[in-house]
Symmetry: C2
Subunit: 416 residues, 2 copies
């Protein structure tokens, strides 16, 4: 069964929409994988969403995750993943997987890389070995990994790149897009290549170049389209303008993937402009460092002000971490360098983003997206509860004798 996208609802007051991606079962894998949109993809760089099990991702509401082709190709290698039954089987993940093309990681991690019309030449950041990644390689590798959705190889330019460089990157991206599609056709002729393939729109923050790129990209039979080259330093306002611009040009019957965006405010605003799919390492990377997004802002739980705070990370959250543990405990775990702290914060971080897009979807379906958008953004900007706990009254170094009789007053409130 081929990949499909069903548009389920369109908001009337904005470009926000709710849909459903259905990924056909790949050979040797079980069943069809459905992804309601808007959707957020936690990032499983090297075959695991750092610190988390597949069951924790499922419990947090995850339907699809992103895995990095570049990392997996270098280690454990595509051959190992294939021999172990493909990426789903290897990592024990029953949901959908989107793989990137590897192009972005080559550009950002390799100590040496050279872009030619043929492809990208680079050195491994692990052992320095030299390799070439062509648009055809990118498609073949993602097929071998067993991705449900593969990405076309594109060329990126940095924010503020000169017009000729942007133009050249657009031309090359378009050429590579066609070559990637041709390679998938070849694979399909050999009984493989069942995965969806998404094209990536480029052109930086230049609306004319992005339009020129999509005029040709949109003619190609991609299963979805991605917004590339954004959130690389151009700023939120300009970035969101580009999202509005691209989504206005993209066909409504195919999913739209805004790459590398995961700040709650950005996600809400991009959904309002018509984006369906997101990924970002930010929530989980921050979490491992002791900072999480909660419904009312950004909480640095490793800070000493939370040493005696009996509240959960987010009183409005029902994730495992927030149902079971206090800020005081998490603060202690980070202070003591306990890995459980990273885990518990990551569980919240993933759950928070997944619930945010789920609630956006429900609001779109219920016809109240405008209210959801306003309330979510207001709450996020409020900073509520991101202050020391009020009941304690004294500092974290209060003498034991003073506290002995008041412990009961600090009990964590019962939670539903």
């Amino acid at each position: 069964m081929p990949f499909s996208f069903i548009l389920e609802a369109q908001d009337t007051g904005s470009a926000a929409r709710a849909g459903r991606m259905v990924a056909g079962a790949a050979p040797g894998t079980a069943g069809v994988r459905e992804v309601p949109t808007p959707a957020f993809m936690p990032v499983g760089t090297a075959g695991s969403v750092k610190t988390l099990t597949p069951d924790e991702l499922r419990a947090a509401g995850c339907d699809i995750l992103l895995a990095n082709t570049y990392h997996l190709s270098l280690r454990p290698g595509v051959d190992t993943v294939r021999r172990m039954g493909g990426l789903h089987e290897f990592m024990g993940w029953p949901g959908a997987i989107l793989t990137d093309s590897g192009g972005f990681q080559v550009m950002s991690l390799s100590p040496l890389r050279k872009v030619t019309d043929a492809g990208v030449e680079f050195r491994s950041h692990l052992d320095g070995s030299r390799a070439v990644l062509t648009p055809e390689d990118a498609v073949r590798i993602q097929d071998a990994l067993g991705a449900d959705i593969a990405m076309s190889l594109d060329e990126l330019v940095e924010a503020g790149a000169a017009a000729p460089a942007v133009r050249e990157a657009v031309d090359r991206t378009l050429d590579w897009a066609a070559r990637g599609l041709a390679e998938r056709e070849r694979l399909r002729g050999a009984g493989r290549g069942t995965m969806a393939l998404f094209g990536i729109n480029q052109g930086g923050a230049d609306p004319a170049e992005r339009r020129r790129c999509f005029e040709r990209l949109g003619e190609l039979p991609f299963d979805g389209f991605a917004l590339g080259g954004l959130w690389v330093g151009e700023g939120r306002t300009l970035g969101l303008d580009m999202v509005e611009h691209d989504c206005g040009a993209f066909p409504s019957d195919r999913p739209r993937y805004l790459m590398g965006v995961g700040h709650p405010v950005d996600v809400i605003e991009a959904v309002a402009r018509g984006a369906d799919l997101f990924d970002c390492v930010l929530p989980t990377r921050n979490a491992r460092r002791g900072t999480v997004f909660i419904s009312t802002g950004r909480l640095v739980v490793k800070n000493a002000v939370y040493a005696h705070d009996p509240r959960p990370l987010d009183p409005a959250c029902d994730c495992y971490t927030c149902r079971r543990f206090s800020r005081a405990y998490l603060r202690h775990l980070f202070a003591a360098g306990e890995l459980l702290g990273m885990r518990l914060a990551s569980i919240h971080a993933v759950h928070h983003m997944l619930q945010l897009v789920r609630r956006a979807r429900e609001a779109i379906l219920a016809g109240c997206f405008a209210a959801f958008r306003k309330q979510s953004l207001e709450a996020f900007r409020s900073g509520d509860t991101i202050v020391p706990a009020p009941p304690s009254g004294d500092g974290p170094r209060a003498p034991t004798s003073k506290r002995r009789t008041t412990g009961a007053g600090l009990e964590r409130p019962a939670r539903a």
Copy 2:
């Protein structure tokens, strides 16, 4: 309700026994905590069994864990733990908790310590601050942490210490034991001190000194007795001789705790000699470094020979890790430095030890401990499955082209 120990069965062919510790509910905590014995305690040094949640410990069959008084006193501090409702509430652990006295950690971790009759003077290994730990402090601190079972402060000597040093340590341990009990009585007079208190037998590897120690220790109203000063370099044979000797002297109506022992062979042999309770960081510390005990020996899963091994860590194990993931995946996680590898290996390590003591208990109750002991030891020494997977036939670096058509043959076998 006070602490109690019920002896449920005594093996006829050895000194092995099955029992049940019942810890009375401490003020502010919920319900009674039961611990069937023999029991193994995972170590939660700083308020977490490294990388694991309370639910994972429960799922592995854990009824009781050990927490380190020294670490928790320094960070987050006893005051914080009390203010947050005690250690159970703080770390979200509903089962029983045994705390050590802090004495062993002071001796092994502090950069400077001086033992006098009064107690131990030491510097914090975290900030160098100077502190004194007396037998009374040890009991007060463990009470404040909310332990179900507290340990008396004892003095350790190193393996091979001269006879006068051993004698002096025994005398001091006996003096401190009486002072600790008196302090608990004082606490009980003030409505606290509900926890059980265990005395620790010392005397190194000298049977006469251990007997002399217990002649006085055994007269004191401790709720249980521990075997101290063993597995510090004296060797397994001598260590097990001391276990046999001590357990022969200890009263049968109180639990016996062999401190710091967690190698599967040691645990089985010590159970056969009458020990009821064990703790050790070895299984989980090894696991975080990529080595686990399985039923057939010691598996170094991070080794390259497992790169394509589709089998679980232990084909005979039903832990979460063994039900869901292959050695190949775990090997990859360790090679890539992914924290999930530490977690999954830790889950297996804890589960393996807990199931080992549970099976020993079931065998004692069923009257077939001799057969269990023989089979377990034979299996552990067999080394079965601790070799590269047979179906593959070629090394982990086989070229892709050779493997493409044989992937199906490498599928992991279905598991119950």
